[in-house]
């Protein structure tokens, strides 16, 4: 009737957080596991997307502007490029954040560096996305 193994202790669940972290609602680094997960999810989605990007670059090497327009006018290409831009810049933002947090120790410099980098990343991501849309539409 009871499917639980009686030799083992009470049923447990595995939570990827320390107990102190759960109490505080934070992980050891002062943040939750959201960053870690997002980095992995974007990494996995970038596996096929970066292969697509490499293929696109080969197809578009030496292309004229008309060639670029024709390529992006293909809905699948525009969609895949937009997905690539989202995953790429998101992954970059998460990765660079870890690098900055590892090497910049002064709290004020760390905050300033992160704000500048993340601002630049959002700027570039938007510039890329709008450019793809302009070529596509």
């Amino acid at each position: 009737m009871d499917s639980l193994d009686h030799k083992s202790a009470a049923p447990t669940i595995h939570v990827m957080r320390s107990q102190l972290g759960r109490v505080r609602g934070l992980g050891a680094a002062g943040t939750g596991v959201g960053h870690w997960w997002a980095q992995r999810v974007t990494a996995i989605s970038l596996l096929p997307l970066s292969l697509y990007f490499v293929a696109s670059v080969l197809i578009l090497s030496g292309a004229s502007r008309a060639g670029m327009v024709a390529y992006m006018a293909e809905p699948w290409n525009a969609v895949l490029f937009l997905l690539l831009i989202f995953a790429l810049f998101y992954h970059l933002s998460l990765g660079l954040q870890v690098v900055v947090e590892d090497y910049v120790h002064k709290e004020s410099s760390k905050l300033a560096t992160l704000l500048v980098l993340k601002g630049l990343i959002i700027f570039c991501a938007l510039a890329c996305a709008v450019s793809v849309l302009k070529l596509a539409l």
């Binding site: 992995r40 990494a43 080969l58 030496g62 327009v69 970059l92 990765g95 450019s131 070529l135």
Partner: protein, 143 residues
């Protein structure tokens, strides 16, 4: 001393003077090995690719803005310095791609045994070389 964490890092040297203990991983006494070299290389290529996204942005924005801007950027990328940067960019991309798969396998708890880790490390380097050379052979053929 700023906080408790700092207090734990204070020690005395052989003269009895108070000093800050060196921070792990003690690079000055570390033997260079493939595991640590590939690890820091993953980070370096990640940062390089981050710089490379500026090129991607330049390429897409110039294409969107018009014929003149695009031909300037295309000519810049096709110059010898542009090609050199792009070769570095593709090598960094393929390395980060291959080593990233290795990292994802570790996240799944696989491939931690030292012989396996060394083997996959060498495999990453070989795959990077093959993919980079392959890309440029195809690139120059279709160009």
């Amino acid at each position: 001393m700023k906080d408790a964490r700092d207090a734990l890092m204070v020690g005395r040297n052989t003269d009895g003077k108070l000093v800050n203990r060196p921070l792990s991983p003690h690079l000055q006494v570390y033997k260079p090995q493939i595991s640590s070299a590939l690890s820091i290389f993953h980070r370096i290529t990640g940062c390089a690719l981050g710089a490379g996204t500026l090129l991607l942005t330049l390429w897409l924005v110039s294409a969107a803005s018009g014929e003149g801007a695009f031909s300037v950027v295309q000519a810049l990328l096709a110059s010898w310095i542009g090609i050199l940067i792009l070769i570095g960019f593709t090598a960094a991309l393929f390395y980060h791609f291959c080593n990233g798969i290795r990292h994802l396998a570790w996240d799944a708890g696989k491939g931690y045994e030292l012989p396996v880790m060394h083997r996959t490390g060498i495999l990453v380097l070989a795959a990077t070389a093959v993919l980079t050379v392959g890309f440029w052979v195809i690139g120059f053929l279709v160009w």
